[in-house]
Symmetry: C2
Subunit: 411 residues, 2 copies
């Protein structure tokens, strides 16, 4: 299981930490007018050129800002800034959308006096509408970049659409005897305004690491964190996670041969898992975070597949919403997951309450189970008793408010 | 598209037809007491040995009755009867459940005076509870089998769980100058009582066809009909579609070389599609049937994958419920379907209202679109402009009642 892989004593949570805790980063957020009152445009800047790594939505319809960001990174594998707007996803907007994303990049580069290809662009909001470029332009002009806690909060707010809470995290560890930090900010899944394109995650770190190794670490970590959350099974056109590593901490360059490589990967994992869980918990209409731990699978990948199938089951999600200890629905999800299963060796527990042992029902106290399911975090444990594969997934319950939020008319 | 493959002039709907319309079939239903008042046990009998074909859930946790049915068919590829109960799925019930399914088969065989291996068994209801065998026994004893319209209705009712309507169909065609009929009965997707194991479909036909060719035809037809519906993406442990063909019509044996083989396959297709659509329309909490037609895909399979992804999207389903012409969500579903897509050549229409042409938004009248989405059948057309592949899928909207039904406590 994920937690077991991290030696918690080596990874410290930094209270009140943010994307500005790692050395050498600044940020800000402003109201550009894309939305009525909320901040809607933000930027993170590294004071020195940073290594970088990104993962993008697997949707065939990648939005224009993702295309531009990939072009930026492809040039030199170095970033100095990330500029982000909410309200408009700039997706399915054709050549005009692409030109708008390029323009947004060049405006941000000009403001900071840095090369265009060192700027990444991200957008989140309604699909199929064009960017209001005059607002983007004046927004970037008015943006104030700084290092205070307020600046971090402005950025965290500017990237939200209708999320109900800001999502941020900060963790540190000692590497080469030096404190290395990762800070994160994310938005996602509180898509009260339909048509939103969903998840964005930004991580800053002062670790000294090349883009090549950072990219490899981010891919591995994303597979077991961001890719293991689901709110409604729908993949957006704008999903992106982006890390900038500026090396300001001064550690020896990190690569898989560095004796503390594992600590850095765990640090990245802890940060990503924290943001991922915050997104799942703030899922549309959600009242509870559901955490699924699968063990005994043929491989880690199969364990994750089973976990995500359970997390994505509407029937499991509604049962958790209704506090109904309906393990038959968990069996249903496991059975259709496509992973290797021995139908006679499955154990299922809700929290500490065992419901199924060797695929045979175990009598349990329904009231006790119902009470457990009233918690705002519900843990489901599945042991397939087939192999050594372990994995986790996170989701949320499916409530009336999910339907309300998503059935409401766009205007 | 599916409709285009059937020459409607050759396939006739039989008004008031049922599983008893094909020659040589009888059936009945009875209240065995597994449920409070509703009929809960039924049987279809062929007066003469029938060829047969069946398709089963792909869940790893196949329920005991499915195991027993496969054993029956494996022996001789001949069936005389299908015995079905609702209320209890007899799934995840281990060795006891298997013995109970065998017992149910032998009781039905004894009643009809036929070999055990010519009886198929099906169950639908709560997962993880044991069968009340004394009730099954007295139920089978009290069952009255006959040929009247009442008998058909008793059977159609007995297999329902908490579906809101009976599902049946009957179509006929001329083969070798003789009228050949297929009748069908199904239950599914009105799973008001959680933990239900979901879809059962039974087809009778008086066509003369071997089990081998019937099986091949059923597999092909199932892939484009029953397998193309989705209510909530959850696959049950008890899904089964079963056909008995007793040859009483007297046509020449049907095989792919028979000049009218295509007509028989279309007859089977029309029957299966009718039941499949009735199930989708009666999905839990559904207020509307959603029919998706995909064209221009690289293959028929990819067209079906795209269609089913759209049908299964919670975001599309809630938008249809809310009458919101939110085509961005359709794009989202297409983009993540895994099928080959050119992101620049996609057309999307809702009914006759074009919303996207060559992946570029087309201005449309929102009020007109909203009005269209108020219909109880909503058609979504997608053209990928990549190849010749066409396919369809069916689903339903996602309403407050879906959550209500599935969040309610089991007892």
């Amino acid at each position: 299981m994920y937690q077991a892989m991290t030696d918690k004593q080596l990874i410290k949570s930094v209270p009140d930490g943010s994307i500005l805790t790692p050395k050498g980063f600044q940020c800000g957020g402003v109201h550009a007018g894309l939305r009525y009152t909320k901040l809607d445009l933000g930027m993170i800047v590294s004071e020195i050129p940073a290594s970088c790594a990104a993962v993008y939505t697997t949707s065939h319809f990648q939005a224009a800002p993702l295309v531009v960001t990939q072009q930026s990174i492809a040039k030199e594998n170095v970033l100095r800034a990330i500029v982000v707007n909410s309200a408009c996803a700039n997706a399915c907007t054709g050549e005009q959308g692409y030109q708008d994303a390029l323009k947004m990049r060049s405006l941000a580069a000009a403001k900071m006096g840095i090369p265009e290809h060192q700027v990444a662009v991200a957008s989140t909001g309604v699909i199929g509408e064009f960017m209001q470029m005059e607002k983007i332009e004046s927004g970037i002009e008015n943006l104030v970049i700084g290092k205070s806690a307020d600046n971090a909060e402005y950025f965290q707010t500017a990237i939200l659409t209708t999320d109900t809470v800001m999502k941020s995290c900060c963790y540190s560890a000692r590497i080469d005897g030096i404190t290395v930090s990762i800070g994160g900010a994310a938005k996602g899944s509180g898509m009260i305004h339909p048509n939103m394109a969903t998840m964005l995650g930004f991580l800053t770190t002062d670790a000294n690491i090349s883009s090549e190794h950072l990219t490899a670490a981010l891919k591995d970590v994303t597979n077991i964190t961001f890719n293991q959350i689901t709110v409604d099974g729908d993949t957006s056109t704008n999903d992106m996670v982006l890390v900038m590593a500026n090396g300001a901490a001064g550690n020896q360059p990190l690569d898989p041969n560095h004796p503390e490589w594992g600590i850095f990967v765990d640090l990245l994992k802890e940060s990503s898992a924290s943001l991922a869980k915050q997104i799942a918990k703030d899922g549309e209409g959600a009242t509870k975070l559901i955490e699924i731990s699968v063990s005994g699978a043929m491989s880690e990948e199969e364990a994750r597949v089973v976990g995500k199938q359970i997390a994505g089951s509407n029937l499991v999600k509604t049962a958790v919403y209704g506090a109904d200890a309906n393990w038959g629905r968990i069996i249903g999800a496991i059975g259709q997951s496509g992973a290797s299963i021995n139908p006679n060796t499955v154990d299922i527990s809700l929290g500490e309450i065992t419901m199924l042992k060797n695929s045979t029902p175990v009598a349990f106290d329904e009231d006790h189970a119902r009470e457990y399911l009233m918690n705002d975090k519900v843990e489901i444990f599945v042991d397939l008793h087939l192999g050594e594969g372990k994995g986790m997934a996170w989701g949320c319950d499916l409530s009336y408010d999910y339907v309300k939020i998503n059935a409401s008319y766009r205007t």
